[in-house]
């Protein structure tokens, strides 16, 4: 599945991933392949991305995440 992390300044991350873990406002959750469609707001915290080229982590100040058909889009502001 693919993941895009966008901030108004720039496209922070974009690529093929196996797992993404986000700080949802109701609690942290992990998105794996074939996750059901979800829109959730994010709390302050860390986004952890696992892809082919290793792990990445981003500290964010909140935002929103949308998952649909193995496409994850995260709109956020970096902390």
């Amino acid at each position: 599945m693919t993941c895009d992390i966008l901030t108004p300044d720039k496209n922070v991350f974009s690529g093929e991933v196996t797992s993404v873990s986000v700080p949802g406002s109701e609690g942290r959750f992990q998105v794996l392949n074939n996750h059901a469609p979800i829109i959730s707001s994010l709390a302050k915290g860390e986004i952890k991305v696992e892809g082919k080229d290793g792990k990445h982590a981003f500290l964010v100040k909140g935002g929103v995440v949308e998952v649909i058909q193995n496409k994850i889009t995260i709109l956020t502001e970096l902390a």
Binding site: L6, D9, I38, I39, S41, V64, E66, L75, L78
Partner: protein, 294 residues
């Protein structure tokens, strides 16, 4: 008859001015490219934000409670005035200041009388001008354009929203310049807060996919609203910067052309003076020879 040396000095000074204006034009052109690419950069973000907003609204059944769109009688107003830090950009700053003065003197005339207008200048030119207007000044963010990025604009927007919610002021206006193309800018004043609820009511074409919403559609939208405000302000700032460089580029291009015209007429004058000097010299020699022979 102009002195030869005088004309020569003027020519060389015009040449050096022309070099400066030409260089400034080049610099503005490259800064403009950067500024327009920043405008393009936020497009994916705003598009996606709109998409998500529409998808959430399509599934929203709850009533939205948007504190930032609360319309109150305006007792105190804040005007965010965006200008450039530097001059030499034609009528750019004076047009922005004109738009601000129109707003303050026409729309907010009563508040100006009672001294309830605060101007928040972003950019040094606006600060210098606003000091003379007899309004309150909030000068904390004058130098934001020196290093414009989303976090810094976001701080300002948060400050504005906090002031609005605590009823420190009841309306927030932004005076900025909308970027159309390098030669065309639209100077305007727009109202930022209370937030217009346009696009937040009813179903605006979102898909009916069965999403899981966390926590629930209404709350997600409410959480996103500050982001809308920030994005709007950021967009205004980016447009103003791009317009500034566009305006400077056009102004400097004209200045270079004018310097070229001036040079042409000065060179003509110089050559005339030189020719006149030569003619005088020849006639003097001829006269001298004639006197010797005579």
């Amino acid at each position: 008859m102009p002195n030869l040396k005088e004309v020569r000095t003027r020519i060389s000074s015009v040449i050096s001015t022309q070099q400066i204006t030409k260089a400034m034009k080049m610099v503005s052109a490259s800064k403009l490219r950067k500024a327009t690419s920043a405008i393009l950069q936020i497009r994916p973000y705003t598009q996606k934000l709109d998409e998500i907003k529409n998808n959430v609204l399509a599934n929203n059944t709850g009533e939205l409670e948007i504190k930032l769109s609360e319309k109150r009688t305006v007792k105190n107003a804040l005007v965010v005035l965006m200008t450039s830090d530097k001059g030499l950009c034609g009528g750019f700053n004076s047009n922005l200041l004109k738009a601000a003065r129109t707003l303050i003197q026409d729309e907010l005339a009563d508040l100006k009388q009672s001294g309830n207008i605060t101007v928040m200048p972003l950019g040094k030119k606006g600060y210098d001008a606003a000091k003379k207007w007899g309004v309150n000044i909030d000068d904390r963010y004058v130098s934001v354009f020196q290093k414009l990025n989303f976090p810094s604009v976001s701080t300002i927007a948060e400050e504005l929203m906090k002031g609005f919610l605590s009823q420190e002021f009841d309306s927030v206006h932004v005076v900025f310049s909308e970027f159309k193309n390098p030669a065309v800018q639209f100077f305007q004043a727009k109202s930022l807060l209370p937030l217009s609820t346009e696009g937040l009511n009813g179903n605006s074409g979102g898909s009916n996919i069965d999403y899981i919403f966390e926590p629930n559609p209404a709350e997600i939208i409410e959480n996103l609203i500050p982001t809308f405000v920030k994005i709007q302000l950021f967009r205004c700032a980016l447009d103003t910067v791009a317009s500034e460089h566009g305006a400077r580029m056009t102004a400097m291009d004209k200045a270079t052309d004018n310097a070229g015209e001036l040079l042409k007429s000065l060179r003509l004058e110089y050559n005339r003076a030189r020719q006149a000097a030569i003619t005088t010299e020849i006639s003097e020699i001829v006269g001298g020879v004639a006197a010797l022979e005579g």
